[in-house]
């Protein structure tokens, strides 16, 4: 009892506990990987999910909780882990995914910020790094990747909510992720970054209005995902490239991943579109996760076919 309850948010300590417990209870399907630590030395755990089969050469990455206040994002990663382990060999979609590829899940990429939203300021966005000479705290981790870093759409002001940091990959959280993905570039074919809010299915680029070479292909993938969500959950997700759909935002994870050669790279913005925003009530978590999973699944199955 009490463990994987989808109808509530989980504190950072709860998430660490859940992830550790899950890896102990499912040693045949999971592996806990420590990829680094945050500025305040909280661990960055990735849970690797695999089907009960031999090794495969394909993998998918999903990170949640880059922005501290976007609580539905870590909630979705936890929901996804629970769904995968509960319904493997019971439901065809998740069984196919786990039989054909490994899935790396980072439930909280910004643990310091997440903790801060539970204890001090519910609206905090950035991480909690401090630098000598500035009284302002935190870097926007989704402006800190080495992708047209700190150009239009990011700020060099340490007090800004979209502060890009002192230099690309200055933040340990970003370094941990890029180091892991660089070393798994040959297997990771598909990347998802989960954010909130405003219900969007986005793909590169965000750092320029120019189109990626496979723009049409990515557009068709998010379009199909959006149609599925609308048909099954009667909810509208807009879709398109980041810069054109919302605004210019350099230094983002999906753009960096794309430029590394992982050409199926997506950012989802989950529920809702403003009514509750970052304060999505707990009783709406399950629905938000179900429709997000419909999007992830639709794209992942198509990419597997490719």
């Amino acid at each position: 009892s009490g463990g994987m309850n989808n109808e509530r948010y989980h504190s950072l300590e709860d998430i660490y506990h859940l992830v550790n417990k899950t890896s102990q209870e499912h040693p045949d399907m999971t592996k806990l990987i420590l990829i680094g630590s945050s500025f305040e030395k909280n661990p960055l755990y990735v849970l690797k999910l695999s089907g009960r089969r031999g090794p495969v050469d394909k993998a998918m990455w999903m990170d949640c909780g880059i922005h501290a206040r976007e609580w539905i994002s870590p909630a979705f990663c936890i929901w996804f882990i629970n769904y995968a382990l509960t319904f493997y060999k019971e439901i065809p979609d998740i069984t196919t995914l786990l039989d054909k590829m490994d899935i790396y899940i980072l439930p909280v990429m910004n643990p310091d910020g997440y903790k801060y939203t539970w204890t001090t300021n519910r609206m905090w966005r950035k991480n909690r790094s401090v630098k000598e000479g500035s009284s302002c705290v935190g870097v926007d981790l989704n402006r800190n990747f080495d992708a047209n870093w700190c150009t239009a759409g990011a700020s060099s002001n340490p007090c800004s909510d979209i502060y890009c940091g002192q230099y690309p990959e200055s933040e340990p959280e970003v370094q941990a992720v890029t180091k892991f993905l660089r070393s798994h570039k040959d297997s990771v074919k598909l990347y998802f970054s989960i954010h909130s809010y405003s219900q969007l299915l986005l793909f590169p680029y965000s750092y320029t209005l120019e189109q990626v070479p496979n723009h049409t292909e990515l557009f068709e993938l998010v379009q199909e995902a959006s149609f599925k969500i609308r048909r099954h959950y009667r909810n509208i997700y807009r879709y398109g490239s980041g810069a054109k759909t919302i605004y210019l935002a350099p230094g983002g994870s999906d753009d960096w991943v794309y430029d590394q050669g992982i050409i199926y790279s997506f950012t989802f913005e989950l529920q809702d579109r403003g009514r509750y925003g970052f304060l999505l009530p707990p009783n709406l978590i399950n629905n938000a996760c179900n429709e997000a999973f419909a999007g992830v699944k639709t794209i992942a199955m198509r990419v597997l076919e490719k």
């Binding site: 509530r8 506990h17 519910r122 759409g153 700020s155 809010y197 935002a249 403003g274």
Partner: protein
């Protein structure tokens, strides 16, 4: 007054500039877009306002003819609901 979230739409460049100034105030938090520099005409801006500033900010918006509505009337209730310690896990 409680902490609130307003949806505000700027109809002129002057209103855009004023809204950017308001959203930089430390008793407000911009929810959408991510930064004041992204505020544009005829695009809803979602702004979280601390209880102590609600009256002042709404009066300012009314004085300058902004179109706005209340998205969330009492954020504290939701925050309490979210952080309620209802776990039965004895870890």
């Amino acid at each position: 007054e409680q902490d609130k979230v307003l949806s505000i739409t700027a109809a002129t460049l002057e209103q855009v500039s004023l809204l950017q100034n308001i959203s930089r105030h430390n008793e407000t938090v911009l929810w959408q877009p991510a930064s004041p520099s992204h505020i544009a005409m005829n695009t809803p801006v979602h702004l979280y306002i601390q209880s102590s500033s609600v009256t002042r900010v709404t009066e300012l918006l009314q004085t300058h003819g902004f179109s706005f509505s209340v998205l969330l009337d009492n954020t504290q209730n939701l925050i309490q609901e979210q952080t309620r310690n209802n776990t039965t896990d004895p870890k």
